[in-house]
């Protein structure tokens, strides 16, 4: 059963500093929680570069290609309509919808990949919510958590959290 050691910090800067110290001290499974993005937390936790831009460009290119192909196939191949003897395949008249569909697919890929893949939400239950005090993470405090499967490690982690300057330290257990 997974255990989470949680530490509450009042000052954002102190929280970032503590995260850095804990990571450098070899604490496993670290995460930080805050009401708004903390400046410098990405470096403190050594997070890898986000892949969201890759998703965005892939979605955008596929959307634009798809949008163009859709118009070309429908108006020039499947059912050509002669309006004022204009060519059935109009490159320039296809551009606006190509742009719009590129934007649309890119936006949809950014949003849904973020929610379902990068955030791994919706997830109404998470062990950190076991602590009633953790509510402050979205209000006015910063929290750091360390995840461990070993009960023996907990007192050592709690000591490290206190040393790093946590105001409150809780340990929560994932409910079965």
């Amino acid at each position: 059963m997974k255990r989470f050691v949680l530490g509450e910090f009042t000052e954002p800067a102190a929280c970032v500093e503590a995260a850095r110290k804990l990571r450098e001290g070899g604490v496993p499974g670290l995460d930080a929680y805050s009401p708004y993005p903390l400046h410098g937390i990405d470096e403190a936790l050594a997070l890898p570069r986000s892949k969201v831009p890759l998703v965005a460009i892939t979605g955008g290119v596929l959307g634009a290609l798809g949008g163009y192909t859709l118009q070309w196939w429908m108006n020039a191949v499947d059912w050509p309509i002669n309006v004022g003897n204009r060519p059935p395949h109009g490159f320039w008249t296809n551009i606006p919808i190509t742009f719009e569909s590129g934007v649309l697919i890119s936006v949809l890929s950014i949003f849904f990949s973020s929610i379902f893949y990068f955030f791994n939400l919706p997830r109404p239950y998470h062990p950190v919510f076991e602590s009633e005090r953790f509510r402050t993470a979205s209000l006015d405090a910063c929290w750091i958590s360390a995840e461990t499967g070993d009960e023996q490690e907990v007192p050592e982690l709690e000591r490290k959290f206190r040393e790093a300057g946590a105001r409150k330290v809780h340990t929560v257990v994932e409910s079965a």
Binding site: P96, S101, V103, P124
Partner: protein
Amino acid sequence: MAETAIEPPALRPLPLLEGKQDDGTLNKSLNAYVWQPPQRGWLTLLLIGLAGTGMLFAAITITIAKGIGTWGNNIPVAWAFGIINFVWWIGIGHAGTLISAILLLFQQKWRTSINRFAEAMTLFAVMQAALFPVLHTGRPWFAVYWLFPYPSTNSIWPQFKSPLMWDVFAVSTYFITSLLFWYLGLIPDLASLRDSSTSRRARVAYGIFALGWRGSARHWHHYKIAYLLLAGLATPLVLSVHTIVSWDFALSILPGWHTTIFPPYFVAGAVFSGFAMVLTLIIPARRFMGLKHVVTARHLESMAKVMLTTGLVVDYGYLMEHFIAWYSGNPYEMHVFFFTRPRGPYAWAYYLQMFCNVVVPQMFWTKWARRNIGALWVGAVLINVGMWFERFNIIVTSLHQDFIPSNWAMYYPTWVDLTLLTGTICFFGTLFLLFLKFLPAVAVSEVKELNHELHTSHPGMSELEGARP
């Protein structure tokens, strides 16, 4: 620091956030309106809004049951209220995207307190706008076959060379993008509402929509980039939407429509009317919702400046339209710009438009008008009216006297037309009131971040940063 000390007080920028704030006080004051019992004023307005919404649905039912013959449209004025209202509402929506996306990319800090509010306005305005073309098709239940490339048994496809089709794609992309951008911004605030709720019901309700957001640094890491990318995509999108709306007109050969100035002129007009609508709504809202400490005189003044600037671009558009009509030497063009509009039967609408859109915004050159709440509000309302009449003039005045005098006819709206217009205003108001009551009208998480930035940056830095208009 020494420099700021000798700076005359008149040059010191107005504060972005008033009073000494921290995360706790912001949390409390920005969410207070959600937690307090509904005010009598709010309930009264909601009832009026609901009554108007009922009227709207009655008018829609009549339109669908009897057909668009119940509207005042005729030949030659085949596009009347339906398209005027469509363009007016879409234009209003554009300020929301400008504030939330373009000002984010330009790092304008004053966007932060008003972006949520303006984005909600965008969503609700686009919803009203979308009603009109769908109703104007006459048989809305067929509209899906006509408008979307849906593999129906007709086995015929939409004609993609028509700007009206581009419009369908532009507006639906715009609505979806605005909705997702708005919701992504709301998630952290929904989590803070969940966590500050005192009743189980509220906690569960906000909890569901917060999707279990826990503010993890690993999530913020992706969130920041996703938000920025959505803003980056919304920026060209919003410009494309009104450009495409203007092509609905510009790609036809009708005098008064067939002009290359239309795209920039329509985009500027959209932003102009949108900012006017934001001001119309935010001036009363900040007062009754206790938001004066986050929506300060600084925000109102910045919005007035944007109105003045975009208003001048619109005025330039008017000037160019008239100049090109004269310069072309085309008798039909000259007839529209120098006879029909200023001296025709709808001349009153032309002069009303010119007064509201050309004369009124000039008052925002003075600091007095930009800082006087009353003047600002009246100016904003007049600009909304003026922009509606601009579309009236573009559409009705250009159409009612076209190429052959035997074809000329006057246009008069029917009560169904007028009910649809007022009904959408009420429906918009209803949605907006519900938004103000149930969701944080100010982006709480972003304001907290801004507050933190203003306090922790280099001493004097926040002053300098704040000095940027």
